[in-house]
């Protein structure tokens, strides 16, 4: 439940632009604190991170980023309603035990949630599963099935259905292809990642 810097720096610029200046921001699975530090410097945000990995806690402390060590499967219960403007979950939803629980709490604790997820429906993944009959292993998803931290994969379509069924609003969607914004049609087939802004 932590993010290595190298795994997902690509969406940080975009996410930073989506955060209003002066916001109170909570980053779940904040990794080494790169995104929060950026938000502090560029958006004058009040920042707070959560991560489970002691190594990442140390890295955050080195950057001066405040971080609480905790497991996303229960730590969100420690936070008050609407105590943050923005709650971010970047490349982490697929590793938690209860994604629905985490998203529900994100929208309780924050006024809005920014979520970025890898898209399991990306055509390369489909290709590998369909033609090779194997769980996909790609540049963006480099793990084998037995050692992957990613235990809850979904496609962009799955994610949209989930948000709709919960009665939440999907205020904005941004599609990425290997780190770059893409306007290509049929994102569920051609995008590797989704960044979504969700509100209640």
């Amino acid at each position: 439940m932590s993010r290595e810097h190298k795994q997902a720096p690509y969406d940080f610029n975009l996410i930073a632009e989506l955060v209003p200046v002066g916001s109170r921001v909570l980053d779940l699975g904040c990794g080494d604190g790169t995104l929060l530090e950026k938000l502090y410097l560029e958006r004058r945000a009040f920042i707070q991170g959560i991560d489970i990995d002691p190594v990442m806690i140390q890295r955050c402390v080195e950057k001066g980023v405040p971080v609480v060590q905790g497991n996303l499967d229960w730590v969100l219960q420690d936070f008050n309603d609407s105590s943050f403007d923005v709650v971010i979950l970047s490349q982490t939803l697929q590793v938690v035990k209860k994604p629905d629980f985490v998203l529900q709490h994100m929208l309780r604790v924050g006024k809005k949630a920014i979520v970025s997820i890898p898209n399991f429906g990306y055509w390369v993944n489909r290709f590998q599963l369909f033609f090779l009959g194997q769980m996909p292993v790609t540049k963006d998803l480099p793990y084998a099935w037995y050692n992957t931290p990613n235990i809850h994969f979904c496609t962009i379509t799955d994610f949209r259905h989930f948000i709709k069924n919960q009665g939440w609003k999907l205020n904005a969607e941004y599609f990425l292809r290997s780190g770059k914004l893409t306007k290509m049609p049929m994102p569920n087939l051609f995008a590797t990642d989704l960044i979504a802004i969700i509100e209640k």
Binding site: R24, P54, V67, V68
Partner: protein, 364 residues
């Protein structure tokens, strides 16, 4: 207290015009001396001070008892920081306490010394900082009872520190913690040499104090650490004890050793008073919630707990960071994996050392 024998610490006599010092209990001290150590030097901007707060049985010589943390090149680096540590009010290592002479009776206070609160201790430390010309601290840092003082600093003097570092501590004792203190105090007061607390001129309740300390040491270790340290090894001993069966378990000799070493340096009345100080400490006293108690604080917080500390378990640290988050404070919390129990904060622990080093560095 002005004994002629050589002492390692410096002694500051609080000037008459700042006295009497009134404790939270309402009682007044008409004379007050503070024993302290400083390490490193204060920079020109007077902006590099770190206050180290000792635990129950500590003293002002932080470089000795916290050798893993304080010193040149150590996490609380005396080449960079001006490190201050003073013996607490009511202590027995130089600062005015039960062994000091009560100016009104010309005899040691003994048991009549008022029970200081954690806030009283912190207020005395603030006077010392004024005396040392230190306005603002980079951090107030301490473990166990030292952590309680670090918390109190954030509440009582919010403008005087950038950060509060609270290690293996709690915002209030559990009934289990208090229970252990009760047994310790009873051991002391059952000793015939306790003499109602009037013992400073003859001997003192050494047996009782030693038993209290033995109990304490059990609570400082974890079950696993005790297995590691002693196993079930048995050895012969030559000591004359009423329980002598010619041999004893390793753990028994350890506890005897700790107990008898302790009575040479610690005062029984201080033991009684300071355990009471901790029993009474409740950070949220006078507030509706812990969250409210933190409201006036403006510093950053670093909270550290240890997985095998069953005296002040992680859950007590979680209560702290939860309240701080709710009070919208900036908080860092880390639970460090170790099997060394409550004692962990005094032992070498690379993870704790790295965290504190980086935390201070980021605020320098």
């Amino acid at each position: 207290m002005s004994s002629a024998k050589q002492r390692a610490y410096q002694l500051w006599t609080v000037p008459k015009d700042m006295l009497p010092f009134q404790l939270e209990s309402g009682e007044k001290l008409h004379e007050l001396e503070v024993a302290y150590h400083t390490f490193g030097s204060l920079n020109e901007a007077r902006s590099n001070a770190v206050l180290v707060l000792h635990a129950f049985s500590g003293d002002s010589n932080a470089m000795k008892w916290w050798y893993t943390m304080v010193g040149p090149g150590k996490p609380i680096d005396t080449d960079k920081y001006f490190v201050i540590c003073s013996n607490v009010l009511g202590g027995c290592s130089g600062t005015t306490g039960p062994a000091s002479i009560n100016p009104q009776t010309n005899k040691p206070y003994g048991f009549s010394f008022p029970i200081p609160s954690i806030r009283d201790m912190v207020r005395v430390q603030a006077l010392l900082l004024d005396h040392l010309n230190v306005k603002k601290l980079i951090a107030a840092i301490g473990g166990s009872m030292g952590g309680m003082q670090a918390l109190e600093w954030a509440k009582t003097f919010p403008d005087r520190l950038k950060s509060s570092i609270v290690i293996a501590s709690t915002t209030r004792l559990s009934p289990q913690n208090i229970g252990f203190h009760v047994v310790g105090r009873n051991a002391i007061m059952s000793d015939p040499n306790w003499n109602g607390g009037d013992y400073h001129e003859h001997g003192g309740p050494k047996k009782g104090l030693s038993i209290a300390r033995m109990l304490g040491h059990i609570t400082f270790l974890s079950e696993e650490a005790m297995y590691e340290k002693f196993g079930r090894k048995v050895r012969k001993h030559g000591r004359n004890s009423p329980l002598s069966f010619g041999e004893e378990h390793e753990v028994e000799s350890y506890l005897w050793h700790q107990g008898s070493k302790f009575v040479e340096r610690f005062d029984a009345a201080t033991y009684l008073l300071l355990t009471k100080t901790m029993d009474y400490f409740d950070f949220s006293d006078g507030y509706n919630s812990l969250e409210e108690a933190f409201a006036a604080s403006s510093c950053d917080f670093l909270i550290i707990s240890f997985t095998s500390d069953w005296l002040f378990p992680t859950e007590q640290s979680r209560d702290m960071y939860r309240a701080l988050l709710r009070a919208k404070k900036s908080v860092t919390f880390s639970e460090i994996e170790t099997n060394k129990g409550h004692d962990s904060f005094l032992l070498p622990n690379p993870e704790m050392e790295d965290l504190v080093r980086a935390y201070l560095e980021a605020r320098r």
